[in-house]
């Protein structure tokens, strides 16, 4: 059995065929995300027409409903009409849709760093911060499917406006964007970049101070999540995750929590974990296999 997995982001669309073991069994195709809604739909149709598969599995930006059929609302950096997409209408085969961070969390649970952990929290540290939470072996979706948003407060005094429009969310501290803002605050250099910081934090004391503050903000967020969820582990994925010290985070989290010991680990399901998780979830939904 094969799933045609399609990963939809604000800048890139990927596709690949994936088997029931979560293995990628084709080339991974890559497209720039079109700037108009019609072109996006045309891209989906072209990908679908070009392959043989049993099910289509979308891993997408945006919150997805509990039926895994549609996007709940606005999604940031993709055309505003995107949520109106009727995914099932794209194919005669079953079509499944889930949020990309949820898909990546599922891939880690099935074949990656949180394998066999019935309770875990995954944080995707990139330009923003994504989240996928697994409770008793199921994705935490909430009443409408929007759960797992990492927009809890880090301060109460309105210091940084988050991309969501509210103040001082975890995302605007723990993301790459957050690292740059921490860099600006500590260095008083408005032109400092994440590359400046990441390139020099092991040797330059100022850059180390910036990096440590950023990492400690991530730590404080994880402490709160561990107290809320008592997870087996917290998985860090995304482009910024490679730089953090998970041994340090594990030690410090376990010093600070009131729940039971946990661990912080790096994701291991690979760059295409979103597509893999979408495929495995689709197999489970339509064929009861996982």
């Amino acid at each position: 059995m094969k799933a045609l997995a399609i990963d939809v982001g604000g800048t890139k669309i990927y596709s690949a065929l994936i088997n029931e073991k979560g293995q990628i069994v084709s080339d991974v195709e890559k497209y720039a995300t079109p700037k108009t809604y019609d072109e996006i739909i045309a891209t989906f149709k072209k990908i679908i027409a070009n392959h043989d598969f049993d099910v289509v599995a979308f891993s997408t930006c945006g919150a997805v409903n509990n039926d895994n059929t549609r996007i709940l609302g606005s999604t940031g950096n993709i055309v505003k009409e995107y949520p109106k997409t009727d995914f099932q209408a794209l194919s005669d085969k079953p079509v499944f849709v889930e949020n990309d961070a949820n898909c990546a969390a599922w891939a880690e649970y099935k074949i990656g760093a949180s394998k066999n952990c019935q309770n875990s929290v995954m944080l995707t540290l990139g330009t923003g911060v994504g989240g996928g939470i697994i409770v008793n072996g199921k994705l935490l979706k909430g009443k409408n499917g929007a759960a797992g948003e990492m927009h809890f407060k880090m301060r109460t005094d309105k210091k940084r406006k988050c991309t969501c429009g509210a103040w001082d969310c975890f995302e605007i501290y723990a993301s790459g964007t957050g690292l740059k803002l921490t860099g600006e605050e500590i260095s008083s250099n408005p032109d400092i970049t994440t590359y400046d910081i990441i390139g020099a934090y092991k040797t330059d004391p100022i850059m180390k101070k910036i990096f440590d503050r950023w990492q400690d903000d991530i730590l404080l967020g994880i402490v709160g999540l561990a107290n809320l969820f008592d997870p087996d582990c917290v998985v860090l994925s995304g482009s910024m995750a490679e730089f953090v010290d998970t041994d340090y985070l594990t030690d410090e989290v376990n010093k600070q929590i009131v729940t039971t010991p946990t661990k912080v680990v790096k994701a291991s399901a690979g760059n295409h974990s979103g597509m893999i998780g979408a495929a495995l979830l689709a197999f489970e939904k339509f064929y009861g296999k996982s």
Copy 2:
């Protein structure tokens, strides 16, 4: 069918008989919590010997394991040996144990303010802050049973030490203790009490400023919880809950969240919701009734 419910707190122990509808069908008995472990166990045995029942249901301070048989670890203001209690050994009938905030959340879900809400967060605002979270109609327990602790951060700059030993948890801002600390900071009066504030916040501008800051800290915590859980509602219980403005909180939360609209409501299952929830959970566990 009747449950003998026993509510164990650091200062008081209550007991009552409760039927399958969650109705209290006896007098509620009240005892001061003894200062020694042996006396606590003797109190339990005396209560149990004096009643006819089908099941014993403990609603207790402390985190409780996923089998609902024992306390996981230290519990604050009760004798340190309390976690070693073998609850089942206290009776020939089935014995059930659950954390008091979880029990209260369950009572609200079954007969109270969150009735029929499959996803909800309950906050108990008292001297401290308790939490009980319901996900898809089940208590959120986590890997060992300790989930639902409201110890996520409100600041990153180490301003207030929480009772848990870590810095700046939600509890030390949103609790009655937090209200007093906010009062001390704003009024510069170290002797200010919660009674001073609650008694005058509707007429005195300084007391209003203190109260509003405290209520807005609660608001910010709820925003984070709503973004994580996408709940049908957030239920406020406990002695401090009667003072907050749930219409204001609902409006503000819905302005700030990225998830779908929710509401903030006051608990309605009564003062003994812990015992009621414990009884209903016990019936469900041992007899499949809820």
